[in-house]
Symmetry: C3
Subunit: 154 residues, 3 copies
């Protein structure tokens, strides 16, 4: 016999905004900071403990997990997925203290459909569309593939 | 001259729920079964003839196609896409009898951004974020890449 | 001190429809043309200057960027991302004149989770789920992988 599910709804909650932040709804954004001139596309989820820097754009369909810090003037394409739990013991780790912290430098461009695992990406790097970034990127360049590899320095 | 389109709306229809199922709307869920303690994130679509086992979590942005059976205590990450029509004759097959049936065992963890083609994934397996699973996985281990390959046994 | 963000909402605007177009909302569609019998799934965004041909289906969670022309009777799977700005100078190019134009021929099938960079895909081609298409496809065949390669001619 079917029971009644618990229905909740997305929204924008407990979030700190700078000047001139634009959000195209529907989105699910909670517990984070969006600096001046940030622009967020539709169908986006941004979880708590995230900081999005001045002038950065997050395009439609992207998901930003907890503890992601993104710099200024970045471009996060459409359908970009961030992940910080590496399933080290073979399943999701319930302790947030064990999750990676992801830091994206200023002026980083991430192509649509990319997946970003717990890493640092240095300022000015370019990640090709559809790439899977599995390691920290510390030299400014263009990276692509699964796993993402350096194509050329910038 | 522009005509008027036929506009439909997503919803939750013809679905059987166990106890304590939580759903974050908006979602499009129809003709399936969600067992006790299942949790579904926003921007998710689950099609008919799917069964989601007790305690399993389906995160935001994921799409579960028809005829997918998922076991207990699984974690389906964000933006995971299931597909069961292999386009064998060079285009979508209109006959559902020809589509694959996908079976995911108990305790499987699938990373965000993964794509799962018609296969079996055995209990306890881990699929890395951004992977594309093109064959059945029958040994418990960690798999990643496009196509996904065994990284290590668990 | 937190400011008030500018909240906008998705919708269907400035779009030209043929006969019998079906759209499952919520979607964000603007400035494009949808021909007869087109069917659009939920959580889809289609940007301006796009043309979707007769009988083509665009499944849930897909994003079609500006300047994409899709032929007749195509199948665009779930979570397919199109991208036409190649970040040639290391960041998004603000000038649309420099973006690629993407042309998809008649009867093309694109699997779920694929990423399509600025290219031509010839009539009747099949793109496997999860593939990343980085070059033009000019011979009818089945292509898969990241980057997508020819598996077999059709």
């Amino acid at each position: 016999m079917s029971k009644t599910p618990i229905l909740c709804n997305i929204g924008i909650n407990n979030t700190e905004f700078g000047d001139n932040v634009t959000i195209i709804q529907p989105v699910n954004i909670y517990g984070c900071q969006l600096a001046d001139n940030v622009r967020i596309g539709p169908f986006v989820e941004i979880q708590k403990h995230c900081v999005i820097g001045t002038g950065t754009r997050v395009q439609s369909h992207s998901f930003i997990c907890e503890y992601v810090t993104i710099g200024r003037d970045c471009f996060i394409g459409h359908g970009v997925m961030f992940a910080n739990d590496m399933f080290r013991d073979g399943s999701p780790d319930p302790d947030p203290n064990n999750w990676g912290r992801i830091t994206i430098g200023d002026g980083v461009s991430i192509g649509s459909g990319a997946t970003i695992l717990a890493v640092e990406i240095c300022a000015g790097a370019v990640i090709g569309a559809g790439s899977v970034v599995t390691r920290s990127i510390t030299r400014k360049g263009v990276y692509a593939g699964n796993p993402a590899r350096l194509l050329r320095l910038l």
